[in-house]
Symmetry: C2
Subunit: 175 residues, 2 copies
């Protein structure tokens, strides 16, 4: 049984609210089970996800943590592999087939500056291009590669509304 | 000769600075030639990209525009196809092979609310999941599919510094 969790480091309420909420929404839609985040505790971020779950389904959860290093060590003791996404790491193309063998993973994404300790704690430091992009773009590509694109077809059973794809305009139905 | 350009609608300086700059950085790294943006003109956003180009290479440009509908019509007259990314559109998996035949494309991404006129102007309204995610996640997956993952291997000839991928830590060299 695959379980993919995310650790978002150093969330800052005012500066990061939109980016962190987009990270969480992408994790939810792309088949991750949980996002942990450190930095500022943010009720608005958490409530956004609760509201989306209620409307569109999924059991995705979000949890604020104070000590990310301890979380990582706990996950390692629980046989998770730790993937740190960084522009300085090895190309995702070279490592994705090995990482796909791992069924329980914790993916770490930072904001601008990630302390060196996380490079050491990670089992894999992985880059999505060796260029400055975005932790959200990097995470999106990583998940797409890890799940072989199947994450694009997920349907959530407990959805109240569903969107029916249209050539033009919008179609939303109540489930 | 492939030319991919982006139109980012309705940028708001304080609210969107990080997200719009991450969009622009991703476009640059993923082989797009130009990003147009409407809404607030933002020198900080433009200077971020100029600085990244100087250091890491590429001729990616960014331009503020006042009238996005006129830009779209100009591009249509210039034989561009218009792709609008929206959770209400047809799945990227169903349309990507047709869209790959198009060599000059303008991709429109909005922020929370996109006026209906853009759905009508677009040649293709395309969804990356029928779930709320992020315009940046959607754009990232679209580009990855359009370029068949080759965008991850781009090297910029005019770079001053290059990152050498490492298992642990960081290695940066001057070109």
């Amino acid at each position: 049984m695959i379980n993919v969790e995310i650790l978002r480091l150093s969330h800052r309420i005012h500066r990061d609210i939109r980016l962190s909420s987009h990270v969480a929404l992408t994790c939810r839609a792309f088949n991750c089970s949980k996002m942990y985040y450190s930095g500022d505790k943010d009720a608005s971020l958490e409530n956004t996800l609760i509201g989306i779950n209620k409307k569109f389904g999924s059991n995705f959860t979000i949890e604020h943590i104070k000590n990310p290093e301890r979380l990582i060590n706990d996950k390692k003791n629980d046989d998770y592999k730790i993937i740190h996404l960084t522009m300085y790491g090895i190309s995702v193309k070279k490592k994705i087939n090995v990482i796909k063998e791992e069924k329980r993973i914790l993916i770490i994404i930072g904001s601008e500056h990630v302390p060196g300790v996380y490079y050491g704690l990670a089992d894999y430091n992985i880059s999505i291009t060796s260029q400055p992009i975005s932790e959200l773009s990097a995470l999106t590509i990583f998940l797409h590669e890890y799940f072989d694109g199947k994450e694009l077809d997920i349907k959530f059973e407990n959805a109240k509304v569903r969107i029916i794809p249209q050539e033009k305009g919008k179609k939303i139905i109540n489930s």
